[in-house]
Subunit: 207 residues, 2 copies
């Protein structure tokens, strides 16, 4: 069986995380998201809670740093006091992502994994999106939020994901040319989206 | 069996046309591209050859009109002498697309069909893309062109497609949020891309 590393980028509220988890069960391969952060934290010696506060979707400091122009592209120069932590975390995560990819087939959600693994030929790059109205409904239900709060949350999280991705890569978050398959999860629903992705992955795995 | 109208947008050289044709055979539903133009021409009383010269990918006059700012968004106002022909053709094509969609399941390549049918709930919007290097190779082989000529042709055709689409719709050509499924045809190859699309369409058709 051939190795396939599946990276999943996703709009907030599109069900990308759930789709990734279900896909990992169907394909019987590991799934990485928060664990990746935690493992990366251990590797780099940072306390897990600190890492959680500055992870991909919560990096207000990164957004602030970018808005003030304190960073330069590539994350090499960052005079703000918290910036080196973001960079250190990013590089630790990238090392972990590369290690996971070396170990065997797996699914990695977010964390610029598609960009980190861009040189590998055995990677299947996926992006999950959905119409905004469906994402609002999903977030309202999942997080017990009002429509207005859900809208704000979606706007904020997607903005942070885009900033993070565009900062650490030279690609553009949500540009279809960065992905092998982009799918509207509302079109078929979560379970049948998983089936379509599994079918594509199985072709490559020779299953 | 439920009706599914499949619209296919595609980068030049991505194999989108071939994928559409093969998909129509697998699903046993009609496939429309040039015929659509010809039928629209007959409907609007225009000579087929005239229409061919101003169709989607060859509309230099439209590009020129846009570059001079002679058009306004929506195609309602167009003082250049050839502009009304473009508009007339577009509206005639749109009528045909709507008629085909009413008649039953089918596949329509290009022609802003996704935008024309945006109000329908039974439409599956697909976009086919591929890395530029693969598209260059495909066009070199298909049209017996040098690498340099193939590159120029791709740039020119995709630019015209984008201008045409962006002019006649309020969407952006190649923006993944306009499509239910976008796929890199190089990832699985033409035949297996067809299989993935067929699997997704069959879910909706209840096949």
């Amino acid at each position: 069986m051939n190795r396939v590393i599946i990276t999943i980028g996703r709009q907030f509220g599109s069900g990308g995380h759930e789709i990734g988890e279900k896909l990992s069960k169907v394909l019987e391969i590991p799934f990485y998201d928060k664990e990746l952060i935690e493992t990366a934290a251990k590797e780099s010696g940072m306390h897990t809670e600190v890492v959680r506060n500055i992870d991909e979707t919560a990096s207000n400091s990164l957004l602030y740093s970018l808005s003030t122009g304190a960073f330069i592209m590539g994350g090499r120069y960052s005079p703000l006091s918290d910036a080196p932590i973001n960079d250190k975390l990013f590089f630790a995560q990238s090392d972990m992502i590369r290690r996971f990819a070396t170990e065997g087939s797996c699914i990695i959600v977010g964390r610029c994994a598609d960009y980190v693994l861009r040189e590998r030929k055995d990677v299947f790059h996926v992006f999950i999106h959905a119409p905004k109205e469906d994402r609002i409904k999903r977030i309202m239900k999942l997080h017990n939020l009002s429509e207005s709060k859900a809208k704000d949350r979606i706007k904020s999280v997607d903005k942070k994901r885009a900033v993070y991705y565009n900062y650490y890569s030279d690609h553009k978050w949500g540009d279809l040319q960065c992905y092998d398959l982009s799918i509207n999860s509302s079109y078929l629903g979560v379970d049948q989206t998983v089936d379509v992705l599994a079918a594509a992955a199985k072709v490559k795995m020779g299953k």
